[in-house]
């Protein structure tokens, strides 16, 4: 009852939050055939600034952080990522009419992490006055990479069984490929600079003040993309729609549970638990697709990209974020 009320309240206030408003605004623009288009160059610059900002902030905080406190959440993040993929193997892949490669690629994408969803969660948590460890967003790669690697390795094993291809040798390359993606590169370089240099001023004068505004533009883009890719999604089996709705919530709840363990064991803050839940709920929109395209060439991008951008991301942002915040209020007290 409490949860329902708290969730309803959080959800309604979220509807008024500009975060969600811009996401839905993007859908509205695409749905009404607006000619407004945010240029690709701007999109790529926004992703860079957001992730460099997250990285710098994280890096500056890790300097003072107790690294032991980081180790367990990182391990748990990796476990959540892998479990998310396995859930997909056990559910989506078994449904009728679903090709195994498509299911694996989709599970990999939903096990991986979305930078835009993460950034949205950070802003919403800040608006709600809910504190989290500045290094918590740095859990991103610890969940993202294992999920992608596992999905691609499983697909390789499957191809191996099916037609004698060798599916094992390229784990190192998949990891390197993920780390080289534009989003993770920016995050990791930011961490490094935050850790080793003194970027306080440039962070406070540039990366931090632009964060909220650039995020609003990014969410508008994600909204437009979501609507546009719906057509793609409609072309594939309806099961993908179901999966795309259920997976973010399931993965997020699982992430929340593991976060709770970290809370008890090493004192991860309630905000940190929400961050873990949100990255679990999120699905990769920037680095995942090209890595999967290269790693599971047989999979149909209409299936996994359609499911992820047109339903997965909106659900993770619009339902996931308020749900986990409400849950944290319920579990850890206000």
């Amino acid at each position: 009852m409490d949860l329902a009320a708290s969730f309803a309240g959080s959800f309604l206030s979220q509807l008024q939050s500009p975060t969600l408003a811009f996401l839905m605004g993007g859908m509205l623009l695409a749905a009404t055939g607006s000619k407004l288009a945010i240029p690709d160059a701007i999109y790529r610059f926004i992703v860079f600034v957001l992730l460099m900002g997250i990285g710098l902030h994280g890096g500056m905080e890790i300097r003072e952080a107790n690294l032991a406190a980081l180790a367990l959440p990182a391990l748990l993040a990796a476990i959540v990522g892998c479990l998310s993929v396995l859930i997909g193997v056990l559910t989506l892949a078994r449904l009728p009419g679903i090709r195994r490669e498509d299911a694996l690629a989709t599970s990999g994408l939903f096990g991986a992490v979305s930078a835009s969803t993460l950034a949205a969660a950070m802003i919403v948590l800040e608006e709600q006055g809910m504190v989290f460890e500045a290094w918590a967003p740095a859990l991103y790669p610890f969940m993202d990479i294992p999920a992608l690697v596992l999905a691609i390795v499983l697909a390789g094993l499957h191809a191996h069984k099916a037609n004698g291809h060798d599916g094992q040798v390229r784990v190192g390359r998949i990891i390197a490929d993920s780390l080289r993606g534009s989003a993770l590169s920016a995050l990791l370089l930011g961490l490094l600079i935050g850790l080793l240099a003194r970027p306080e001023r440039v962070y406070e004068e540039f990366y931090s003040p632009l964060f909220r505004g650039l995020l609003s533009v990014l969410l508008l883009i994600m909204g437009m993309e979501a609507w546009t890719r719906l057509a793609e999604l409609r072309r594939v089996a309806h099961w993908y729609m179901l999966y795309a709705i259920a997976a973010p919530i399931t993965h997020g709840l699982m992430g929340f549970g593991f976060g709770w363990i970290a809370h008890e064991a090493v004192g991860l803050s309630p905000g940190g638990v929400v961050i873990l839940a949100v990255i679990a709920a999120s699905n990769s929109d920037i680095s995942g697709p090209p890595t999967l395209r290269a790693g599971i060439p047989g999979a149909n991008p209409s299936a996994y990209i359609g499911a992820s951008t047109s339903l997965g991301t909106p659900i993770a942002i619009a339902v996931g974020i308020p749900l986990f915040i409400a849950l944290a209020g319920l579990v850890f007290g206000p």
Partner: protein, 104 residues
């Protein structure tokens, strides 16, 4: 002064660029030109202009000029064989006339 040569045009996902270029260079072609594009074929709609959230899937158009038509055919067959069973893409040849054939 003008000599017949063959132009290979490859339209493919950006993802394949490095792989295609290495086949082209290994086959001894002396140069290539790439142009960004968008398109629609069997697989996926690739939008231009607006933010390409999934830009590895965007389309590029590669032109390679070689003097020898047989060499061109080999390159085209190689690329199609290696990539275009699994990934999106097409390849075609056209006959052209060039100056300074020693450059190609």
């Amino acid at each position: 002064m003008f000599h017949t040569a063959t132009k290979i045009t490859i339209i493919a996902e950006r993802l394949l660029q490095d792989g295609i270029i290495s086949i082209v260079e290994a086959a001894g072609a002396k140069g290539y030109t790439i142009v960004d594009g968008s398109g629609k074929g069997e697989h996926f709609v690739r939008p231009a202009e607006r933010a390409a959230v999934v830009s590895a899937f965007s389309i590029i158009r590669i032109e390679v000029i070689v003097n020898d038509a047989e060499q061109a055919r080999d390159i085209a067959r190689d690329i199609a064989g290696r990539f275009f069973k699994q990934y999106s893409g097409i390849v075609y040849l056209s006959e052209i006339e060039v100056l300074r054939p020693e450059r190609f």
